[in-house]
């Protein structure tokens, strides 16, 4: 337990102190890593915990992004825009999740994929609201939205970085608590054996539904934080290729531990950024990494590291 607290504090410190040492691009990259980590954690709430592979988290990511963007453009202060954006995404997840959680395995995945692409299609065509394929641009950063002296302007990139990073870290803490809570344990029980879980009194479908909506909430939060970062939101946020990112990140980092998706997100984006400087063929490298992970490191980098540590301890 203490290890976890230290690890958490270390991560928080690195993230928050980064602007002191890093240039604008590194800061930007790290923020993107944080957002992807949050998205991956939301994905893994379903996958790592219940074994359900959602190929459509993009729907909620985009939902949060567009909702926040529209609110910011209407002048709503930052904090409220972000939170309301996340809630909007959760609402969407509540509606779509009602259908998704009735299925398992392949059917669940296919349905999440279909819904994700439906959101994409709606966003693409509903030009009046979403700006269509041009997207929403000119999203202002504005003020924080807390009363009185706390109402900072978030226009500077450093301030926005800190704001977003703090929100992400808080979310990670919440998700971490969630995984150890009765809900989290119930989810794990479902993954092990859904029938047995049902018999022992866990209402399987309802539990999965709650997890689904929670995942949608945090995916939406990640998307909402994206809007003021780029000051542009486009339909690609809902496309299945975006939904595939948290999947890959989680798999690389390892779906069976809390840290896995976080490590995976860092490695995924970091690797991509490095590879792209040397070759255009980063998909190839990625595909190979993914292949290696699936074939050998089934539990991802974190899992492999954990195994290694365990082995060293035994020796």
């Amino acid at each position: 337990m203490r290890v976890r607290v230290i690890a958490g504090a270390a991560i928080a410190a690195i993230v928050l102190l980064l602007p002191l040492v890093a240039g604008p691009f590194l800061r930007y990259l790290v923020l993107n890593m944080l957002l992807l980590a949050l998205l991956a954690l939301s994905f893994n709430l379903l996958f790592g915990m219940t074994g359900l592979l959602s190929f459509g988290q993009g729907a909620y990511y985009a939902g949060g992004a567009y909702a926040a963007a529209l609110l910011l453009r209407a002048g709503v202060p930052m904090l409220w825009s972000i939170l309301l954006g996340a809630l909007a995404a959760a609402a969407l997840a509540a509606v779509l999740g009602a259908f998704c959680v009735r299925h398992t395995r392949i059917y669940f995945s296919m349905l999440t994929l279909a819904f994700g692409m439906l959101v994409y299609a709606v966003v693409w065509k509903w030009t009046d609201v979403t700006g269509g394929d041009d997207g929403l641009i000119g999203i202002p950063r504005g003020r924080l939205g807390l009363p009185g002296p706390l109402d900072f302007s978030l226009d500077s990139p450093v301030r926005y970085y800190l704001f977003a990073a703090i929100l992400v870290l808080i979310s990670m803490a919440i998700l971490h608590r969630l995984s150890a809570s009765p809900l989290g344990l119930a989810l794990q029980a479902i993954r092990e054996n859904a029938e047995r879980a049902e018999f022992s009194g866990i209402r399987v479908r309802r539990t999965i539904y709650i997890a689904f909506v929670t995942a949608g909430l945090f995916a939406g939060l990640s998307g909402a934080l994206l809007a003021p970062l780029e000051q542009t939101v486009s339909p690609s946020t809902a496309h299945w290729t975006k939904s595939a990112e948290p999947v890959m990140a989680t798999l690389i980092g390892g779906p069976f531990s809390f840290l896995g998706p976080i490590v995976g997100a860092v490695v995924y984006l970091g690797l991509k950024e490095i590879i792209v400087r040397f070759t255009e063929y980063w998909l190839l490298v990625f595909g190979l990494v993914l292949l290696a992970t699936v074939l050998t490191f089934r539990s991802g980098l974190v899992g492999a590291a954990a195994d290694l540590i365990a082995r060293k301890r035994r020796a």
Partner: protein, 420 residues
């Protein structure tokens, strides 16, 4: 016709190939570069679509920019400083485009940015230019929102554009169409903002010139369409006399091939393709490009018939073993425009370069051009022409060129909204 493989994203420094090719800068752009004691090297970041069905554009753009860079460096650089370029794939995605722009400026240290094919990416990157505060010269993205909204209305002064925008596809086309014996028009165009806007402009302007014209049908194909059959049969079922299209790249090639199978060309009096004179489309279709098809672009290698243009084409062919496409010329011009502006301003400071670029006159391969002060849009004439197969050339060419005065089709401030 296969593109040269092995071109990577490595920084392009002065190459010995240049010495071997013996290229010299064109007269209009050169003048021995005095050493202005500027930063060395001067870095230009270029992003363009380098992959997928529209990847031909990026390849040609990269070549054009590279040629300019090599010529400039051979002549001593910009104000005595060598030019270094870095190319990235924009993937036609907004988030990738923005990330590339940030990478170029914040990480790689770019002094200037050029490129961009997708209108959406141009708008999104334009949005962050005030933050990055470097000059951006767009070389292909054609939405009118870029110059009319971003620069003119919202004063994002870092943004410039050296390629003719949608006016060429939507308005100049109407100028051609009004003289054609076609009363019933239909369209097969891409299903995004650009496709809709260009069709809307075409309809609005053509109706003004020829009030008895009818628009009988439209079919918009989603991005990634590989089979236009249903679109073609839908549109042909409405008996149009003319087809208008702003499909581009590989999608234009597929559409024309399939339209040919459906005997569309034999059953209509005119077929207009806004970006149909791009070299990759000409090469891609080859003998399959029906004679008489109307096509245009952002530059055509055969116009104007000036020594500067001839030299550009000859230099390009010698260096890359292919005729230049229009993104090649626009990228080439962008680099040279930066050279001229920096040397005029004697500085690479963004504000000074902006001032130098505003109102600047350029003698580019495409002809004489002025960069308007109000909206930072380069104004120059590009022809519409008809496809013809000429044994002297390895690909189909344009003939019967129609060139209009830019006054007739470039929209002017204060940019009234387009009706229709």
């Amino acid at each position: 016709m296969a593109p040269r493989r092995g071109t990577t994203r490595r920084r392009f420094l002065q190459t010995t190939a240049l010495a071997a090719a013996g290229l010299a800068a064109p007269k209009a752009f050169s003048a021995a570069a005095p050493d202005l004691k500027l930063k060395k090297p001067i870095k230009i970041g270029c992003q363009t679509i380098l992959s997928g069905p529209l990847g031909g554009y990026g390849e040609f753009m990269r070549k054009g920019a590279t040629l300019a860079m090599e010529q400039i460096n051979a002549a001593g650089g910009i104000g005595g400083s060598p030019v270094e370029m870095n190319f990235r794939d924009e993937e036609l995605k907004v988030d990738v485009g923005v990330k590339n722009a940030r990478y170029f400026v914040d990480d790689w240290g770019a002094d200037f940015l050029i490129g961009i094919d997708s209108s959406a990416v141009a708008l999104a990157v334009g949005e962050i230019m005030p933050t990055l505060n470097k000059v951006l010269i767009v070389t292909h993205g054609a939405t009118e929102k870029y110059n009319e909204d971003l620069v003119y209305k919202r004063h994002v002064r870092q943004c410039f554009r050296v390629c003719v925008p949608v006016y060429q596809d939507g308005i100049a086309s109407a100028l051609v169409a009004k003289d054609l014996p076609v009363k019933r028009w239909a369209t097969i165009s891409p299903d995004y903002e650009y496709g809709h806007t260009s069709w809307k402009m075409f309809r609005a302007y053509l109706k003004r010139f020829k009030p008895d014209v009818e628009f009988v049908g439209e079919s918009f194909a989603k991005f990634g369409t590989v089979d236009f059959s249903s679109h073609i049969s839908k549109v042909m079922g409405l008996n149009p006399e003319g087809i208008f299209s702003t499909e581009w790249g590989g999608e234009a090639v597929t559409m024309v091939k399939q339209a040919k199978l459906f005997k569309v060309f034999e059953n209509t009096k005119a077929f207009m393709i806004g970006m149909g004179s791009a070299m990759d489309v000409l090469q891609g279709l080859g003998a399959d490009y029906p004679d008489g098809t109307w096509a245009s672009g952002r530059y055509y290698f055969g116009y104007p018939d000036t020594p500067e243009n001839k030299k550009f084409v000859a230099d390009f062919r010698k260096r890359f073993d292919t005729y230049p496409s229009y993104p090649s010329e626009t990228a080439y011009t962008a680099v040279y425009a930066l050279k001229k502006a920096v040397e005029k301003a004697k500085s690479i400071e963004t504000e000074k370069v902006i001032e130098a670029l505003e109102g600047m006159e350029l003698d580019r391969p495409a002809g004489k051009c002025v960069i308007r002060k109000e909206d930072h849009q380069a104004v120059y004439a590009v022809p519409w022409g008809q496809i013809k197969h000429d044994p002297k050339f390895p690909m189909p060419i344009l003939t019967n060129l129609k060139v209009f005065s830019t006054d007739e089709y470039y929209r002017k401030p204060p940019f009234a909204p387009v009706e229709g």
